[in-house]
Amino acid sequence: MPDLIRHDGIHDDEWTLVSAPEEDQELTLPDGPALLPATVWKENRDQFAGRNDIGIWFDSHEEPEAFAEVIDDLPVIAVNFPKFTDGRGYSIARLLRERYGYKGELRAVGDVLLDQLFYMKRCGFDAYALRADKDISQAEHCLNVFSNTYQAAVDNKEPLFRRRKAEAAS
């Protein structure tokens, strides 16, 4: 099982990321918990009613809007970073957390590198499948490189200008 970083440490990952079946293929589920492509899950939704071992994953061009109604049912949502420079996943994460109120585990998967972890955390991710060739022992350091931030995001709802003590009028 590949390792998964959560905010409380490094865990074995029980979940299998399932890719979209080819046109003429049937969807086959692995044993154990599975993350299905969001659209595949939606098409077969009835089939998974009541299961808490099925989650979904989005690709960076997909829109969380279409899932706003149903995400409460999902224990895990993963967002794929096809390339670490593709920043759409950050907006998707914020929307899931802040607009659609998603409370379950939100994972970053794909081209997940150390230097992006802090930003991912701020946008609402709480689990990270670091790219396999990267040094996972540095993850905790990289998740916490800054002790304060200017803007509001998922991790801190108040921007610094609201937290700063208003300087006494001089």
Binding site: D115, C123, D135, E158, P159, F161, S170
Partner: protein, 550 residues
Amino acid sequence: MYVYDEYDRQILNERVAQFRHQTDRALAGELAEDEFLPLRLQNGLYVQRLAPMLRIAIPYGMLRANQLRRLARISRDYDKGYAHFTTRQNVQLNWPAVEDVPDILAELAEVEMHANQTSGNCIRNTTTDQFAGVQSEELTDPRPYCELIRQWSTYHPEFAFLPRKFKIAVNASEGTDRAAVQVHDIGLELVNNEAGELGFRVYVGGGLGRTPVVGPVIREFLPELDLLTYLEAILRVYNRYGRRDNKFKARIKILVKAMTPEAFAEKVEAEWEHIKNSPTRLTREAVDSVKRFFTEPDYQALEDNPDTLQAQRAESKAFDSWVKRNVDKHKKPGYAIATLTLKKTGVPPGDVSDRQLEQLADLAEQYSFGELRVTHQQNVVLADIRQDQLFELWQAIRPMGFATANLGTLTDIICCPGGDYCALANAKSIPVAEAIQRRFDDMDYVYDLGDIDLNISGCMNACGHHHVGNIGVLGVDKKGEEFYQISLGGSSQRDASLGKILGPSFAREEMPQVIEKIINVYVDNRTEEETFLDTYRRIGIDPFKERVYA
């Protein structure tokens, strides 16, 4: 000027430590070149033709004397004793070593400076009018808003990996636009609405480069306190829907064009609806507390146009010319705004030596409350000079090379580093600027020609703003040889427009003569009051074409 508190200091120091860690890993081979690339760009570090280049931010263009001295020391200790002021209120070092950059950033942090987001696909340094706060016609001082944007955009977690770089500029003067807001990704113009409330007119999707566009207005009035939430909505729409498949089509201008400005505006409004009342909405207290950093210095009660000044101007024609050209009206009686030009013939526009940086620091301390501003025309400004000290200042700056009295004229050329320094260049630009300056060395003639913007870029990236020059020069490559294409009629002013290409390009040797022919068409056709641009707009491009290609 804004002064850091504990929060700013801590966040910046943590950034320096972070970049040191990243650089160490890159040098140790733990970070691949393409993985380090966006990280180093977001810390100002380019890798260039001859050496790396470090681009340091100058928020709202302002520098204190101690910062100038630190820049001087850094350019001496880590570079070849030169720095370069750019068209985006940044300063560039052309020869630092990659492994020194964390140390340079640490030295900058000690004087509240940084290279944050001066490059890369993120929100860049926000620019504004170099006369902010000292001229009489502005609605309000734009700098506090730039500072609020700086804080909001610095390490913004959602917008560090945008489809492309992103530039914001703010202007607050009704009559002029020294910040070129209409050719930025977002241009903000401070305005009052009919009820007299303060807010912003919002332009989105302007920019130069390969596809130059004058940005359309997407909102006529945005209330002041909604600034950051609205910016966040724009950036979110861009981050999600901007093209990522093609670098040349990734800028927001392409998205706005493809969607139409109306549809883009609707999308932004829909996004904004959700977040307009979030805690990111500014508070009156937050705005006021930032405004307190931009209050007036300790001005004395003085008379305008003192007798001493009048006598000095009467006595020295050279001084009088400098005052006419390089000195602007100040909002306070008895004070003046003086622009020191970095456009001496033989020196690349915008270049300063370490010694000159120290001289500038001394001048700022002696004459202008210890502060100085840099302009997007690559000059520097002492904004609070006593009128009765102008003569003394002028005498001081003449031997330093800052007194070239050509501000705003044909020889006050904006020029990118071009083929002399830049890996992307198609042609050199510095020698072209110099040749034109040499051809037009008769100052009386240059004054007679009046205000003309001549801008030169060494390639399509348009660092020298050639599209918005009244006369634009663009370096082009033809089968490995350097040529220059001319455009006419561009403006970055309130009547912003893009220049129109004159015709086939020219060899470098021909350039001064070609410019001369263009100028002659103007001189032959102008009416008494017309600037070059007025005449061009009246008579069109054909008379210029006929003369130049005759």
